[in-house]
Symmetry: C2
Subunit: 390 residues, 2 copies
Amino acid sequence: MTATEAGARVVGEDERLARIALNTIGEPGDPRLTRLVEAMGPVELHDRLLADVGLSGLRSETAARLEGLDPRRILDAATAIGVRFVVPGDLEWPEQLDDLLGVEPLNRLTGAPLGLWVAGPLDLAAVCRRSVAVVGSRSATSYGTDVAADIAVGLAAAGRSVISGAAFGIDQAAHRGALSADGKGSTVAVLACGVDRAYPTAHRDLLRHLKENGAVVSELPPGCAPTRVRFLSRNRLIAALSQGTVVVEAAVRSGALNTAGWAMRLNRPVMGVPGPVTSAPSEGVHELVRTGAATLVTRAAHVLELVSPMGSHLTQLAREEPSARDRLPPTDLRVLEAVPLVQPAGASGIARTAGLSVSDVVESLVRLRELGWVVGSAGRWRRSPDEPLG
Amino acid sequence: MTATEAGARVVGEDERLARIALNTIGEPGDPRLTRLVEAMGPVELHDRLLADVGLSGLRSETAARLEGLDPRRILDAATAIGVRFVVPGDLEWPEQLDDLLGVEPLNRLTGAPLGLWVAGPLDLAAVCRRSVAVVGSRSATSYGTDVAADIAVGLAAAGRSVISGAAFGIDQAAHRGALSADGKGSTVAVLACGVDRAYPTAHRDLLRHLKENGAVVSELPPGCAPTRVRFLSRNRLIAALSQGTVVVEAAVRSGALNTAGWAMRLNRPVMGVPGPVTSAPSEGVHELVRTGAATLVTRAAHVLELVSPMGSHLTQLAREEPSARDRLPPTDLRVLEAVPLVQPAGASGIARTAGLSVSDVVESLVRLRELGWVVGSAGRWRRSPDEPLG
């Protein structure tokens, strides 16, 4: 049973078609539509808008546009090119998207989506359940793309899928990193245009690969072009589909910071990878971390710690065992510190440096020589060239 | 009136000499001595230890060492080479050092100092009242030393003094940055050996310059050699003398992290400058920031914000004025987004992309053309190559 067949059992045909029609006439995320769908359901809203029960007797633009739409034809055309429309209630619907219903609309882009157009073999709900968004600048440095790819490799190796856009720079590096992870990586691209379009065109092969092996997702019907507002409204989906958002490089006014803002509003962890303070593409990330909006991460293990249930995936700090030196008695340690590395010194000089009596120092020196810490002859002492290990 | 004369008015000669004696016989920061001085005052403690009222009738090592000391001679010898001993109660005593009395002793290095040996023309209390510690790795990268110097320049320009060690790498860069700041910078080096010694010897000129223009400080009497424990106990003074500690580069087990730990215990701000995640000398700093022990800073303005009284020195975010584009009415913005950049499109195509009626779109396009946003001829429209600015 494919994901589409599974979904079809749950959500009625009329509801799916009504959502397609409503989704097609409005700009993605229009909170007025979202709220009306919440209030009366998509079928009733569609019928009422089509009947144009309102105002002045003139047909409204909306009614006119709805009448000109054939959602069945739109769906059939999409199906023919391997694209499905996933809606709330489908088994493939990622439930975490419904968190957008609880967020105060910021502007006309911020409602919950009415449905998602999806291409690719992965079950969207399953793949998003253990996923991390890795986003950043289009004009990334090679440092940024290297680190993004490394983190994606680590996430994929831990069984996490990677969600990003399909832009140059960090987006591309994140997908490639996940895909390179020994066949284990699953990756989701969320677009600001129809899933049948290749934008940027240089990423045609990448997007084809994702459609054959991962998932490509958009709120916009097939054929739609990307616009600036669509990139902004797309960002909320990247944040909402994932368990947390990692920003790798982002200048001060970057779209990636917009995605980070969505993750914050949704109470999902926001993580930032630092870079040189002299690098403009890291400035936005540093500002997120400095102001406490993001947690600093430097590798996949740090990300896993933050997106996993409390207490699992704790990063092991690089802590050494107490060394042989740490285990020395305090007086012996103090004497050892006072013994010169190269030029041998007498016990009285060492006693002055250590602030101890000569007799205490001589006792210590004998113990330290037995343990291999110091070498001494003719009453002059220096550190052993080979200090004890264990 | 020099700092020494001012101090001499307040603290009696006998107390200063008792503190010199006690400071000379013990390792700096021995909390047992500190606590006894707190309990009975330095003069009484000195006299009791010298009388050796205790135990078995045999003279104790301590009594024997105290008897062999002539603190007056030690002070005279120091004075002869331009070194003074500053003690609690002196006007030159930096009162923030007394915060060390409130910190639970960690080990034998953590008591409050009994006094400080100081060389250099600056009044230590005055210079430390508005000071920031800038510390980091000896094996710093050129990135690290550049950033440390930049931050020190910015601090000096804002009237802050810089406190550091005298090591290679970040310490040196911090001093040099502060000194280069147009004659305004004052800088304090805290040593793990006597202030008359040059360690490392390659920094002889730097230390001479600081002694002539800044301040060089140590808990250890002139002539003492540096040891590992002395570096560790020195670090608490760097943290305690300053209003906050900036760590620029520090590997995972670095002395600079020890200084940061002291600043934390003293409730002073700890700040970390990030670097590439691929750079080992930045790892310790990243760990401080990741775990919330330090606040990320990238420039002097961020540091000033954290070490200044609440609300002053707030960093201005790089926020642009709302652009001409942001001020467009929503419909016009939506239409503008749908107008192609290069290949002109007809109004009906633009209407489909924008999800608006053709008549609304044509009205918008005419307005946008008047404002210079789009160009159109023969019913085909594209973006203006020169978009309006203000």
